[in-house]
Amino acid sequence: MKIIIMGCGRVGARFASLMDEDGHEVTVLDNDTYSFRRLPPSFGGTALFGNGIDEEAQKRAGIEDADVFVALTQGDNRNVMSCQIAKHVFNVPRVMCRIYDPLREEMYSALGLETISPTKVFAQLLKDKVEKTEEKAED
């Protein structure tokens, strides 16, 4: 699979190296080259300097024949915009978007983007864990 990842933060870099280890063709895009220090020395993919909300930068990253585009920058709006470019301009088959704000996440999910809200997921995870320990304590 050919994967483009926008944002080389902790999650982006880790996801990139996991996919790279599994033999996928990975390109990571970030508008700060210093972020690429997070990629492990063994990383065999491409690290590309560029702004993911720019159609030209997406083209340089090879968006036209990408199978997956994932937006993982810190900015919800940047993620939303880059994903809509990938989906509606370049017709990438699978586009995934991280949106911290749960309300915005619900809206864009309703508009047809595949979205993940770490806020929602993590809060739910914490709740489940805490309630589980409580149950154990009651036993």
């Binding site: 909300i53 720019d54 159609e55 030209e56 900015g75 919800d76 709006n77 940047r78 939303v80 915009m81 809509q84 470019i85 509606h88 301009v89 704000d101 309300l103 915005r104 809206m107 309703a110 508009l111």
Partner: protein, 220 residues
């Protein structure tokens, strides 16, 4: 009209002032508390501190009854999201976004933003109009019809000088509407109207055939 302006920077500030002067009900949404305070101190309670991209902020300021939302922050992505949230969550009939990157115009239209404005494009158009040697100037764009109205100048070097309108190889979507000669009266061109140097021609064309029209009028 109730108009919501997202972004209280310099552009937002002067826009707010002008709209208030015209008698509209205007509210600026601004994240920065200091900017908000300056606006409130100067113009009264017309600034709300909050993120204009958040559905909850927009709900709080009654976006549901707004006639228009104008997003003029310095970031294209923020302007896009503010317009989309206004449109899809609050059914605002008209959304306008400022663009930093003029290339985003087509994308924003596709994603539901009604109007986009790019300072770069406006300045370029003005330059084209000011510089007399530029043979084709866009005067107006009829977005719904997919047409533009342009002004073509026939320079003395054009090989079309002395030719009749029917001899020009105009693109299919282009029509000459009016000829304003250097001397004499303005007239509607007929098939046998002869072009003269210094003629100014108002034409209707599609944006795609603008360049072809330019070539046909210059005769190159």
């Amino acid at each position: 009209m109730y108009i919501i302006v997202v972004g209280g920077g310099r552009l937002g500030y002067y826009l707010l002032k002008a709209l208030l002067n015209e008698g509209h009900e205007v509210l600026v949404l601004e994240k920065d508390v200091r900017i908000c305070k300056t606006i409130t101190d100067e113009l009264g309670s017309v600034c709300f501190r909050g993120d204009g991209c958040e559905a909850s902020t927009l709900a709080e300021v009654g976006t549901g009854r707004a006639d228009m939302l104008v997003a003029v922050t310095g970031d294209d992505e923020d302007n896009l999201v503010a317009c989309q949230v206004a449109k899809h969550k609050h059914n605002v009939p008209r959304t306008i976004a400022r663009l930093r990157n003029p290339q985003n115009a087509a994308l924003f239209k596709k994603l539901g933003v009604d109007v986009t404005i790019s300072a770069t494009d406006i300045i370029l158009e003005t330059i084209e109009r000011e510089v007399p040697t530029h043979p084709v100037t866009q005067l107006m764009s009829l977005d719904e019809k997919g047409l533009v109205i342009v002004d073509v100048k026939i320079s003395p070097e054009s090989t079309t000088v002395g030719k009749m309108v029917k001899e020009l190889s105009l693109p299919k979507e282009s029509h000459l509407a009016l000829i304003i000669p250097n001397e004499g009266s303005t007239h509607v061109p007929a098939a046998n109207t002869v072009l003269r140097a210094g003629d100014q021609i108002i034409a209707v064309t599609s944006p795609e055939t603008k360049e072809a029209l330019k070539a046909a009028m210059r005769g190159i």
